[in-house]
């Protein structure tokens, strides 16, 4: 389990993280989303032990991450800004990874190289950005990490490779209970893969919840009554409401059954209830004012 508790971090007076909390269950995939500059990469660099927090604690299985070799040996990290040793090829890089990661799986490495069709002897600096990402993925996954930290992992990858990457991740989560923290702007893909989601804004955690729970709890509703009622939504947590003629457009955060029950009591002539997609939740949570949401969600 990865646990980030009350973490603060400032860069020369700029507060990058503010009392941040984050919990990732063992064997789950956690999606970290947020606007540009929200602090996702900073969180990741703390979880990987690269940066030291000003306050709070970051632990993995109860042990602090910073300067912890035992944890780092079981951790794989693919940054957005890739780095390989200058003039090294994949084979040479693999040799180095093999020498520092005790769980290195040579068989998997060769299998993945073949599957991703990478030239082992070509200098990594000569690879395209997408191929470099694949190479980083091959190296990281071959080290058989128990914790996998990915910063924008599928940026620049074609759909086939993306599928392949996710396949490996999901398999390792299922088979080895690998814990994954992934940051991405591709919310549709995240929606399909993540167990939990954390939405980060200006260094603070806005929402952190299981994706299913998040999606079943928040609904986009269109409703029209024959005769408008003043207390038609009484007892519901209406997050957003606007009316277009006799039709009300609502975003409500409640259990589906409760919403159904309350609205049905008013005998609506039109009643459509749809779950919000992750993208819509993201836009709703971070989109700003009501007028902006109207244009994007409805």
């Amino acid at each position: 389990m990865i646990k980030v508790q009350n973490v603060d971090k400032s860069f020369d007076g700029f507060k990058a993280l503010h009392n941040l909390n984050l919990n990732i269950r063992k064997g789950s995939i956690y999606g970290l989303v947020g606007k540009n500059g929200a602090g996702k990469t900073t969180v990741i660099k703390h979880v990987t032990g690269v940066l030291r927090q000003d306050a709070g604690s970051i632990t993995i299985d109860g042990e602090p991450v910073y300067e912890n070799l035992a944890i780092k040996r079981r951790m794989g990290y693919i940054p957005d800004d890739l780095y390989f040793f200058a003039s090294y090829n994949l084979k040479e890089s693999a040799r180095f990874y093999k020498s520092i990661y005790p769980n290195w799986n040579e068989e998997r490495y060769h299998h993945m190289v073949k599957q991703f069709q990478l030239d082992e002897k070509r200098k990594l600096s000569k690879f395209s950005k997408g191929m470099q990402k694949q190479a980083a993925f091959v190296l990281t996954m071959s080290s058989m990490p128990d914790y996998l930290i990915l910063d924008e992992p599928i940026d620049g990858l074609d759909p086939i490779i993306r599928k392949l990457v996710w396949k490996y991740i999901v398999e390792d989560v299922a088979e080895r209970e690998m814990t994954v923290l992934v940051s991405s702007h591709n919310l549709r893909e995240m929606e399909g893969i993540c167990d939990s989601i954390g939405i980060l804004s200006e260094g603070k955690m806005m929402i952190e919840r299981d994706l299913d729970e998040l999606k079943t709890d928040i609904h986009k509703i269109q409703v029209a009554f024959r005769e408008p009622k003043e207390d038609a939504y009484a007892g519901l947590n209406v997050l957003h409401k606007e009316s277009r003629g006799t039709v009300d457009l609502l975003i409500i955060r409640n259990r589906r059954e409760l919403v159904d029950k309350v609205i049905s009591q008013g005998n609506p002539v039109v009643f459509d209830m749809l779950p919000l997609s992750l993208e819509e939740i993201f836009i709703y949570e971070l989109g700003g004012g009501d007028s902006e949401i109207k244009g994007i969600i409805f």
Partner: protein
């Protein structure tokens, strides 16, 4: 044990990878050392004698390729090894791997030590295998001199290995330190060289200030030695290829200190500052202020040459401060947006420090100028010989007159105080002046030394100097027998008259002559010692050293010269008794031209218009030509070899005919000079009334 293990933890895989990545640097260094040092030796291995100076220069690390490699390799190695720190992507990846910060740092440092040391060690081993006796030679035929020092001895090779390793390791450790405190490769590289030469550079700059503002500041002395020795790179140039034991320990200590400080700073380094100029806030004002200070100095002294007076200097300081503070601030903040409140505050702090510094120098805040040590607390004292010297010893035995008796130390301190009281300022360069350096060996860490310009009369009329020069201690320490001579081999006699040049090569005769010189020196008064009257003859004694304390050992040749005063009876009588009558008498002199004081000279424009004739020299016309033998005799009894006051002295030119034996008289048709055209020069430092 756990602590120990963690402080020295390294990652062998990482070191191995560093070797794989950066071996070309080591190979390049090896080739530079090999091709410029070992290869020429292999080429001439059968006879290395002609190569002896080159071998010596190489093994003393004075060979340019060696010094270039020493300077280039460690810094570049440090930049390459720690460049992962200077980029946000690489710094994140490296620190996410299973290494602690200390392990990353230590592994880089260990890799660097191997990379910079290996080329030296390998070349050293080759040199050790090749080493054989090689001696330097000078001259040809009969004058051929062979040094007793084997320049290619194994000890010399070991010394080269040791000094070279110390140089590269110190430079590497400094470059590692700068790598930790800087945030990008360019800054890392520049700051490394900046720090390597910072101390000697600051020393030079402070010297400029102290010389300008502090009366008596001595540019030479052991301050220079100490400052140069701070960096082994500058010390090797200063010390001629060897480090003392203290220096070796000091450089090893420097490497350890740099290692520890760098490791601590690495641990504290904020990795998110990769690609900034500097990664530690405390470094920013330091670097900025040093840049501002150097720029302020440069412009200040540049302005000073534009006009007279301190106003120009201060205007230059102000201009330099503003310009270079802005540049410095831009560099350390890596931004052109420095015109803000924080920048202004930093500028005001620097300006305040600069003003305190300049005002402090102006008012001599620390009492430097007035300080004369308490003679009772001085172990020994010494001074150089200003003005005309009467004795000289070869550099092998160049011992300054060291005074240890309380009376002489007291006299020197009193003379020092009299200099401060008079505070001589040279007035348009019209007086005969010389530089005097006084040095006291005091119980503290540093000796105290001062340097002054004094004029001749001040020196000549000093009762304290008379006391010192006539003291038994001074005579004893400057005795001709106090040169560690084993045997006297030759005496060469010469005067400023070209016809007088003789050699005495019988050791017995030379010994007799030295005995006479010693007797005259012992009887000599201060006035005779510092007299400006021409010497009767100059005697250069060549001797061989005893083994004691002489570089090169027993048999090394030494020289000493004695300008024999006209009243050195014993020496002159001995010379005359042995057929060396070198008198210049009135009957030999055809005439004496007397030229007016400097103030009466014609200008340059007039000089070139006057053609050269026998009577007119370079456009100068003598104000008087003396041919009367009685007057000539008077001039010969009174003339000096230097002017005392350029405005009140007369230059004279004495035309004479040498006193040759009839058999020796040259064929004047085939000589440059005719009878009566031999010349010597002199000065009359008095009015010409005595000729009336």
């Amino acid at each position: 044990m756990r602590l120990k293990a963690s402080y020295f933890s390294i990652s062998l895989p990482l070191i191995k990878e560093n070797m794989r990545k950066y071996w070309p640097v080591s190979v390049l260094a090896f080739l530079v050392y090999f091709l410029s040092g070992v290869f020429p030796i292999l080429m001439s291995y059968r006879d290395l004698t002609p190569l002896a100076p080159y071998i010596q220069m190489s093994l003393h690390n004075l060979q340019p390729f060696f010094m270039g490699a020493h300077l280039f390799v460690p810094v570049v190695t440090a930049v390459l090894l720690y460049r992962y720190l200077q980029n946000s992507g690489s710094v994140a990846v490296m620190h996410s791997m299973p290494f602690t910060r200390l392990r990353l740092f230590n592994s880089g440092f260990a890799s660097g030590i191997i990379l910079v040391s290996l080329p030296i060690i390998l070349n050293g081993i080759i040199l050790l295998l090749l080493s054989k006796p090689v001696y330097r030679q000078w001259g040809y035929g009969e004058t051929l001199t062979i040094s007793t020092e084997n320049v290619f001895a194994r000890a010399e090779v070991f010394n080269w290995i040791g000094t070279s390793l110390l140089i590269v390791l110190v430079l590497f450790s400094v470059a590692v330190f700068t790598g930790i405190v800087t945030g990008n490769n360019l800054m890392h590289l520049l700051t490394s060289y900046f720090f390597i030469f910072l101390i000697p550079l600051l020393y030079a700059v402070f010297n400029v200030y102290f010389s300008e503002f502090l009366y008596g500041f001595d540019l030479s002395g052991n301050w220079l030695d100490i400052c140069l020795s701070i960096s082994p790179y500058t010390e090797i140039l200063n010390s001629g290829g060897y480090f003392s034991l203290f220096e070796v320990l000091y450089y090893i200590g420097t490497v350890i200190l740099m290692l520890v400080v760098s490791a601590i700073l690495y641990n504290k380094r904020k990795l998110e500052r990769a690609s900034d100029s500097l990664t530690f806030g405390f470094m920013k004002p330091i670097i900025c202020y040093i840049i501002a200070f150097l720029g302020m100095t440069m412009l200040g002294f540049y302005f000073q040459v534009l006009g007279e007076g301190r106003l120009y200097l201060y205007a230059g300081f102000a201009a330099g401060t503003v310009i270079f503070f802005i540049i410095g601030r831009m560099i350390v903040t890596k931004s052109a947006r420095i015109f803000n409140k924080e920048g202004l505050k930093s500028f005001l702090i620097y300006a305040l420090i600069a003003v305190i510094f300049i005002v402090g120098l102006n008012v001599d805040a620390v009492g430097f100028e007035k300080r004369v040590p308490d003679p009772e607390k001085v172990n020994s004292a010494g001074f150089n010989l200003p003005f005309q010297w009467i004795m000289w010893r070869s550099s092998v035995d160049e011992r300054e007159p060291i005074l240890t008796s309380p009376e002489n130390i007291e006299a020197l301190a009193a003379f020092h105080r009299s200099i401060l009281d008079s505070r001589f300022e040279q007035a348009e360069g019209k007086l005969y002046t010389s530089s005097l350096r006084i040095q006291y060996d005091t119980p503290g860490l540093f000796d105290m030394s001062r340097q002054y310009t004094i004029d001749y009369l001040f020196w000549a009329e000093s009762p304290e100097m008379k006391r010192i020069f006539e003291s038994a201690e001074y005579k004893s320490k400057n005795s001709f027998y106090n040169v560690r001579a084993d045997s006297y081999t030759r005496a060469t006699l010469y005067t400023d008259r070209p016809e007088n040049n003789y050699d005495i090569s019988e050791p017995d005769l030379v010994e007799e002559l030295v005995a006479c010189m010693e007797k005259d020196f012992r009887a000599m008064s201060f006035e005779e010692y510092i007299s400006l009257r021409p010497s009767y003859v100059n005697i250069e004694i060549q001797y061989t050293y005893t083994a004691e304390g002489v570089v090169g050992g027993k048999g090394e040749t030494g020289y000493m010269t004695f300008h024999v005063p006209l009243n050195a009876e014993n020496t002159i009588n001995w010379l005359k008794a042995h057929g060396y009558n070198l008198d210049l008498t009135a009957d030999m002199v055809e005439k004496i031209d007397i030229y007016g004081p400097e103030s009466q000279y014609t200008g340059d424009a007039e000089r070139v218009e006057v053609p050269w004739t026998k009577d007119v020299d370079r456009g100068r016309v003598p104000i008087m030509t003396v041919t009367d033998k009685e007057k000539i005799e008077k001039i010969l009894q009174n003339y000096h070899t230097s002017r005392i006051d350029y405005n009140n002295s007369y230059e004279i030119r004495i035309y004479y005919t040498p006193r040759f034996d009839e058999s020796e008289e040259p064929d004047y048709d085939n000589r440059d000079y005719e009878r009566g055209e031999y010349q010597i020069f002199g000065y009359l430092n008095q009015s010409l009334d005595f000729l009336d």
